[in-house]
Symmetry: C2
Subunit: 339 residues, 2 copies
């Protein structure tokens, strides 16, 4: 077994935009498994926008990270030691881990991952939390109908890319906002959106929507918030539905964001807006994984991953989420499979 | 028949806050009824916040008023002449009229009003559009459950006062925001809200909510928007529902209101926000009127009216809606019944 175990601690709570100094790389011992635990060697580490909220002290739906303590997050890895878990050494598992090369986890919190079904990294992406978020957000909250115009923000990201495709499976026309020409191309060519809008090269978001969706927006799947969301609100169609999935543009705001002053639009359009969390759908995760797996296998659902190499670069991978560095699911490769 | 017929025209489209000069009082002839029409002598004229939108040129759910043309609005009055409508002279009717002493209306657009059931003015208030708005908004959109904490803004107004009481009928604890100590007293004593908050004497709306609703807000019936709504959003409870009925604080804004930046709250609280228009419930108006009438007769539902005398003062009655002059439904008495 490798002797070193690099891990990141939260060194500081950021005000506004976090930076590299908020993360502290340490070396600590590889843990031994306690009773019922497995020691997992991290292969891929997931970094996700929601983690920004865990850097703050306030209670939210995810517990705050503690200053001076390891950063928690989902990992996929290989069992290297265990004590009474029934897991075999070398088994690939996914579950709650840390930003670390090795972590000890209760056996019952680990899900087996079959490397023959799909690349193991997908258990953190299209077959994991982001894919399930898109699945339930589209099917249970946004509920697009055939012929609806659906706008998705963060369309090149892990959740948005799946959300748009799942909406298209319901027969909707899908428009995606993304932050570069390269991303727009991926959104249109690989993910099959009907149209992509590069928000980085226009200030007139509403005008851009008008060009591709002259009859307005029936469903809005919002991952970003801010001025793009303001523009989409101004273009909602009658009986529109808005699924609020994420608000990444606001997570680093130093001031509390402005209030929801544009609700008058909702009256005029009899529109509804609903926030949701994928964790509320836990009892149906198996259904989601089964369905999404079938879509991925048959090629109906495309996904992309952006992999940063080496645990040392995990903070950069995380920070890159806010500057839009990633296409699809952002991962950190921490190790290689040994067998 | 009276020879004069005073009427108001829209003289100008206001930018921001409207003023008295935007209304032009003229004298014109009393109309003769065309075929199928009745001439109604206005007894009460309704002024409502939504009319602010009709002063603007843009299309909305209500058609814009035309500059130089009479102001349209609901009236209750007496039939003084008719041609083939089947209505009797002297019958009391409610329907679409104008800010005028006499108006010719198609017979089929007029509803008979029975003066023995309730004061005829209530057909513009608790038994009319405002009462129905509260009825459907609470029962079909906000859907409070027993034990829920419901916050109502504009609680002393025509819609808010009814909405809070209808929510209380479902077993909810009801908190109302109003703009003076006098209004808060009416809200608590007459309308039976569990608590009233005077927003004019505090800036800390969220703190005021915490005092009376420490477990948060399950249902928010929003008539006003703006900073109070921002504060309520910060206090939404899990699975909260927001019914967006009106946004009166924003109607006179010269700049388009800021976008809905606080949607992150909806994610954390899995909350939903829905706009609605009472006109969509037209097929069920009879049900609403029947139910509300029974509540009013049995004393379960209280209402208040603020009556301004004389058509000349109609613009002041209207403008007073935005400075909070009224308690309950704001009416203009244009004439007295003659028989």
């Amino acid at each position: 077994m490798n002797e070193t175990n690099h891990a990141f601690l939260l060194s500081d709570r950021p005000e506004g935009e976090p930076d590299r100094d908020d993360f502290d790389l340490i070396e600590r011992e590889v843990p031994d498994p306690g009773p019922g635990e497995a020691v997992v060697r991290t292969l891929f580490l997931s970094v996700d926008p929601y983690m920004r909220g865990r850097m703050d002290a306030g209670e939210s739906y995810a517990d705050p990270w503690a200053v001076g303590e390891p950063l928690q997050g989902a990992v996929v890895g290989e069992v290297v030691a265990e004590s009474g878990t029934g897991l075999e050494e070398g088994a690939v598992v996914a579950g709650p881990g840390e930003w670390a090369e090795y972590v000890a986890v209760s056996g019952h919190r680990l899900q087996p991952v079959d490397p023959d079904v799909a690349p193991i990294s997908t258990s953190l992406g299209v077959l994991g939390m982001p894919g399930r978020t898109a699945y339930f957000g589209v099917r249970e909250i946004a509920k697009p109908r055939a012929g609806d115009t659906v706008v998705v923000t963060g369309a090149a990201g892990a959740v948005g890319s799946a959300a748009g495709q799942i909406a298209a499976l319901q027969g909707a026309n899908v428009v995606g906002f993304a932050g570069s020409d390269r991303k727009v191309e991926v959104v249109e060519e690989e993910f099959g959106f009907d149209a992509g809008i590069n928000y980085a090269t226009t200030d007139d978001y509403a005008g851009a929507i008008d060009e591709v969706a002259p009859d307005g927006v029936d469903v809005y799947f919002d991952n970003v918030g801010g001025p793009i969301t303001d523009a989409v609100f101004s273009r909602l169609a009658l009986d529109a539905r808005v699924a609020v999935c994420g608000q990444i543009s606001q997570y680093n705001a130093e001031e509390a964001p402005t209030g929801p002053r544009k609700l008058g639009t909702l009256i005029e359009k009899r529109a509804s807006v609903e926030g949701f969390l994928v964790s509320d759908f836990q009892p149906r995760f198996e259904e989601a994984t089964r369905t999404i797996s079938a879509w991925v296998e048959s090629g109906v659902l495309q996904y992309r991953e952006t992999v940063v190499e080496d645990i040392e670069n995990a903070p950069d991978a995380f920070l890159g989420l806010f500057s839009g560095e990633n296409v699809g699911k952002q991962l950190v490769r921490v190790g290689e499979r040994e067998r």
